[in-house]
Symmetry: C2
Amino acid sequence: MGGVRSGRMSRRRESLLKAAAEVFFEQGYAAASIDAIIERAGGSKRNIYSEFGNKQGLFAAIVTGNADKALSSLPIDNVEKRDLAETLTVFGRHLLRIYMSPTVIGIYRLAVTEANRFPDLAKAFYEQGPGRTTIRLAQILEEAQKRDEIRMGDCRHLADRFMGMIRDNLHLQVVLGLRPPPSEKEADEAVRSAVDLFLNGVRISRHT
Amino acid sequence: MGGVRSGRMSRRRESLLKAAAEVFFEQGYAAASIDAIIERAGGSKRNIYSEFGNKQGLFAAIVTGNADKALSSLPIDNVEKRDLAETLTVFGRHLLRIYMSPTVIGIYRLAVTEANRFPDLAKAFYEQGPGRTTIRLAQILEEAQKRDEIRMGDCRHLADRFMGMIRDNLHLQVVLGLRPPPSEKEADEAVRSAVDLFLNGVRISRHT
DNA sequence: GGCCTCCGGTAATAGTCGTTACCATTGACG
DNA sequence: CGTCAATGGTAACGACTATTACCGGAGGCC
């Protein structure tokens, strides 16, 4: 055993995961049938059961794997030196791109759908995705508070609000299949507007 | 025929709808079985088929009926005279209460889940719910613009941002079953914070 | 090369689900 | 009180699905 077989294994495993993800995303957990997955991936059902144990195992592998891949990259690393507005813009753009990617849309749907059946999954999705991002954003805001750039207030809640603005009705419409993901231009415009609103609000300044 | 029978009919119809809504909300469309619904509602499967035709008919009746009931009430009628901040607060509180109600959470899940299988349903849900609310909010903002209370800008987009802030990570967490709906106090605090952010932003004013 | 282990495919199993045919019962009306 | 129509419940049907037993073949080890 060793290199060759594990290479073949992992290639087959990957093609199974890919096909299964497609079917699960399209049909949902309950309606997705093993037969349909095999029809797309080729091979035999026996493969799935020896690799993942059962349907639940396959499902878990897909969700955790894709969530890891898609959600792990945090948008901010070493931008502490930049302007807060620019930092938020970069952050928001990265966030929006992730949220709107077909993979994350699919996982979002599955997590919402199967929250009752697989509570751990929903928890893992939130914590690895929006949860972690919110925490990181809250840190950034706290540093900005220390530099007296923004008002005092609960940064965790502020971060929640910002995430909400980025997600917005746009995300809802895409999740509901009512419109395609936004183009680069639309996304940039949405983020710019959200950052502006977050920083300045809409009220007319009294000193103009 | 007449009063008595239609009364019995509608009472039975209602109890069927209630039980079916519970099962669909808990299990999703594909996994919900007619047997499970009958077990909760009493009676026999024959009832469902003579009343709703088939499973799809029952599902459609539930979603449109509940969506109508829960989403039809618009939060603002004649508050034009009040302060914009107060208007937004009332609006947001009403919105948040609706979004967090178990019925709407259930419908939200179903709409997201079955967006592929029933595209019309997703569309109807959005238009009757968030869509209409956003349009109404945009009108309110336009009036505020005319009164020079807020800056110029696309009110439709501003309304989207506000809706996003109200929904927030809080809604996501509830939808994912990670936390219960917020108490009155938490909801009020969230709305207050969102309105404040929407109006004033976080940047420290230069004239303080 | 021969044996043996393991892997992939086919077909069977057991259970479930949506839907419908059939029968008992009930309530209304003459 | 008898007839009739409609309605509710039981059981059956056909299709489908997750899971597993069985078998043929391919590839590694001595």
